[in-house]
Symmetry: C2
């Protein structure tokens, strides 16, 4: 079967303890001894037994990555860069493995996976995506996160607001400036002359939905205090899938209230919005402007290319990896906010001259 530590020790003529120390560092080992052990490891092709290490050390090389759904590019890109950054540059470093868990955004699934990861003695956990803001769940989540962090496993909240955990614990938050991005996007639409701006928001109760909507409204209100209220009937809550955007837009069109622009919760929803508009015979951006959020790869290939807000997913993934592995110290306050950037493309233009349609 597999080579064990003891065999390596025997081969090198030292005790198992010494081999362990050479492999894990943090304890002085004389140069000659170290060399002999390393050679034995090499010759025997020794690969440590992960579970045994985890059992003895009470922590493993596993890093849990909770996402709403990896099939969604937003999470796929985040998880991908995170996974890549988990493998450090140095060659001998212990390689962390990413355990990705699709929660579908469901609180129960989130907690269930956290339990599973705790049982696996995961060496860290990254919670990504908007948080369900519901007192009961936030409380339960905070308790779980506190417990994990207290047991030494760093927790990184990525793309969601911080949790009220004791400051001394290894819990970091990496946020996106969703609010600012939504604000600038709305400003862009206003500057183009739009006033009747529809908004296809994400699921209610989700932090991301709240932030983006807040930024959007703030911009409207700053331009004209009456605008937020005026646009209220043009706001629809939906899911984060393409079909949600499609359905919401059909509903909007059915209602008949005129609008000249639609801002969507994210790019995927925006493609659904665009499809519904096109199907209704409306031209983009001639008749109606459309904007998304996230700047997923799809944005540049839609027709027309989608105006959106870039969210630095790759950067976030790398940062989260560095934080969860402890390679990067926690920032003071534990919170890092990554900037978002308005990406103006072809899907937004001034409203039609003849007045607002439909």
């Amino acid at each position: 079967m597999a080579v064990t530590l003891a065999e390596v020790a025997a081969h090198a003529g030292v005790s198992p303890a010494t081999v362990s120390r050479v492999l894990n560092g943090g304890y002085p080992v004389a140069g000659g001894t170290r060399t002999r052990v390393e050679q034995a490891v090499e010759e025997l092709g020794y690969v440590a037994n992960g579970p045994a290490r985890a059992l003895a050390a009470a922590t493993s090389d596993l890093v849990g990555v909770l996402v709403h759904d990896v099939a969604d590019s937003f999470f796929g890109i985040l998880a991908g860069s995170l996974q890549g950054a988990l493998a450090p540059t140095g060659h001998g470093d212990p390689r962390r493995l990413a355990v990705v868990c699709n929660t579908e955004g469901a609180p129960a699934a989130e907690l269930a996976y956290l339990t599973l990861l705790e049982g696996q003695r995961a060496g860290g956990v990254v919670l990504t995506g908007g948080a369900v803001e519901e007192p009961g769940h936030t409380g339960a989540l905070t308790a779980r996160v506190t417990r994990m962090a207290a047991s030494g496993a760093p927790v990184v909240l990525c793309g969601r607001p911080p949790l009220p955990v004791p400051a001394a614990l290894p819990v970091a938050t990496v946020m996106f400036d969703d609010r600012g991005g939504a604000f600038r996007l709305a400003e862009h639409l206003l500057a183009l002359g739009h006033r009747r701006i529809a908004y296809v928001a994400g699921p209610p109760g989700l932090s991301t939905t709240r932030e983006r909507l807040a930024g959007h409204r703030e911009a409207l209100g700053l331009h004209d205090p009456a605008l937020p209220e005026a646009c209220e009937p043009l706001t629809v809550h939906a899911g984060f899938e393409r079909s949600a955007g499609y359905d919401a837009t059909r509903e909007l069109l059915r209602r008949g209230a005129p609008f000249t622009a639609v801002a969507a919760a994210n790019d995927t929803v925006a493609t659904g919005v665009a499809a519904a508009l096109r199907e209704a015979g409306l031209r983009i951006p001639g008749d109606v402007s459309v904007a998304g959020f996230d700047d997923l790869p799809v944005c540049v290939d839609t027709a027309p290319a989608l105006t959106t807000v870039r969210v630095p997913l790759r950067e976030a993934g790398v940062l989260a990896a560095q934080l969860v592995t402890g390679r990067k110290p926690l920032p003071p306050g534990g919170i890092t906010t990554l900037p978002t950037e308005l990406m103006v493309r072809g899907s937004t233009a001034p409203p039609p001259a003849g007045g607002s349609r439909p």
Copy 2:
């Protein structure tokens, strides 16, 4: 700290062995005893220590999922459905965790991750994406896969050809009918009247590239034995990214050899192809038809919607999960080929009447 098996045993007034048996099944436990144990587990909120189980049982609940890159929708969708299907319907079932590893298609990374997973005593491994067909690597991979399977961890090859391992081992292969799909796509182009068909192929040496190209050429040859050779100068090898399609198309245009259609290695590449053509002032499908492969979600939102070949990624993910967990018996021969389907959309049309351009 965490509740242990022994504590549950004490609470239920039985021995640890009995608790273990209730939890794992496969050994008769009297109804009353079982109930008492289950109640104790419930009351104490017991969660098994994964590493300890894995150490004692020499196998874990971890399932390795090797992908080229999760950020790529192809793999994201595959990994997502696979991960979802790993969590069985029943509630008490042991939940398998998916460890996703980005190999970037690099043989060395593939082997390195396999070693890591072996060290973790993974309960199974799924290798996805085209295989690098290089004797040395195939040999090394076969050896590794054989060893893992022999130690009891099922291995599933998904979207790649089978490996020559002993038939008795738990190794299954789930393939896509890439060749057939490419064949039908080429037939479609030929039926539209195209004769000068460019092909932006994937990286050389990859099984997927080979299969798709083979199907494509087969259709050309069947239509006119001289066609494959005639189209040879219009075939370019590139990567699987959008930029590869873009660059390859620019190169094709630069060469000046006329073509009326371009078939791309996959949808992502096709979007790059389309972008380059559009940039060159060519209309799709008016001047040049474009076709992709995979039928990723992006296909329906490009302008025009992309004609492509649907590859049943979700189905494959679910099937792979069932096979790797042993929930579904290995098919005879160990190989399952999933059908692909031609999806005709707006990006393909008859070639321009005036003759082939550019």
